[in-house]
Amino acid sequence: MKFGVIQFPGSNCDQDAYHALAGILHQPTRYIWHKDVALGDVDCVVVPGGFSYGDYLRTGAIARFAPAMKTVIAHAKAGGLVLGICNGFQILCEAHLLPGALIRNRGLKFICDQIHVRVETVDSPFTNAGKKGQVLRIPIAHGEGSYFAESQVIEQLQREDRILVRYCDKEGKVTDAANPNGSLDNIAGICNETRNVFGLMPHPERASEKLLGSDDGRVVFESILQSSRATHHETASVG
């Protein structure tokens, strides 16, 4: 599985993502500069966290127009995998690859903390190595992470099983007290209609080895690898 990590001016989790993919999961990984228009033979694009373009105007608003994003959009439309983490999630929403928007946390504060999320479905290339109801301890670090969408969009996400992770307490209960930022329906991460684009506010790449206190985030990357093996197997049996 070949990974590409996009770098915008102001990205600051690009190296964390690179380390998780190349250093921990031993996958061929390379950086993709925001001005690059070609992704090369990348199977999965990671849009990392940070403050692309200084968060000017709105988070992700300027990054969405970067040359590399045109190719990322084409990659996603062709069925390629795209994972957006934190600022990456904000960018994917601005790029209309995911519905809704991330607005200012309800408490107005930037929150840097360890939180819990519950895996809501394993029916996606990003969660299939997990278990439904599994609680993951993963850090968040954001000021604009409150997920908002019109009620019909939220209903559609629920109906189509597209909410992949929700904020919960450590027992796995989805409560308002466990919602750090005021996200509607405790939404921490969603996928697109075709389930190949995933955006989430928590940082799985920062929870991918015990040394950092938790390796719960690995499940996201291991799912991607598992789905790629399944796809290859499918192709092989068809061939």
């Binding site: 105007l57 908002f148 005021g182």
Partner: protein
């Protein structure tokens, strides 16, 4: 010529900034406030040209970049 653009959070979107400022105004003794909402004002200087065409361009800019229609609404004037 100038385009003066106002971008506001939609009524359906929670505006925690507005709420906090409302509380601050009340705690300094400012009474009679129903609601506070905080948005953005943008001032764009234009080289000039056909006003109808500029209206169209600014509208497109507002829709595509300057506001996010999911959470915000905009209005503008060209003068």
């Amino acid at each position: 010529m100038k385009a003066k653009i106002i971008v506001m959070p939609k009524r359906t979107v929670l505006d925690p900034q507005g709420k906090t400022v409302k509380h601050a105004l009340e705690s300094m003794g400012f009474t009679g406030i129903k609601d506070v909402r905080i948005g953005k004002f943008m001032d764009i200087e234009l080289e000039g040209g056909n006003k109808a065409e500029l209206q169209k361009k600014i509208d497109e800019a507002c829709h595509k970049l300057l506001s996010n229609p999911v959470i915000e609404e905009y209005s503008f004037e060209i003068e």
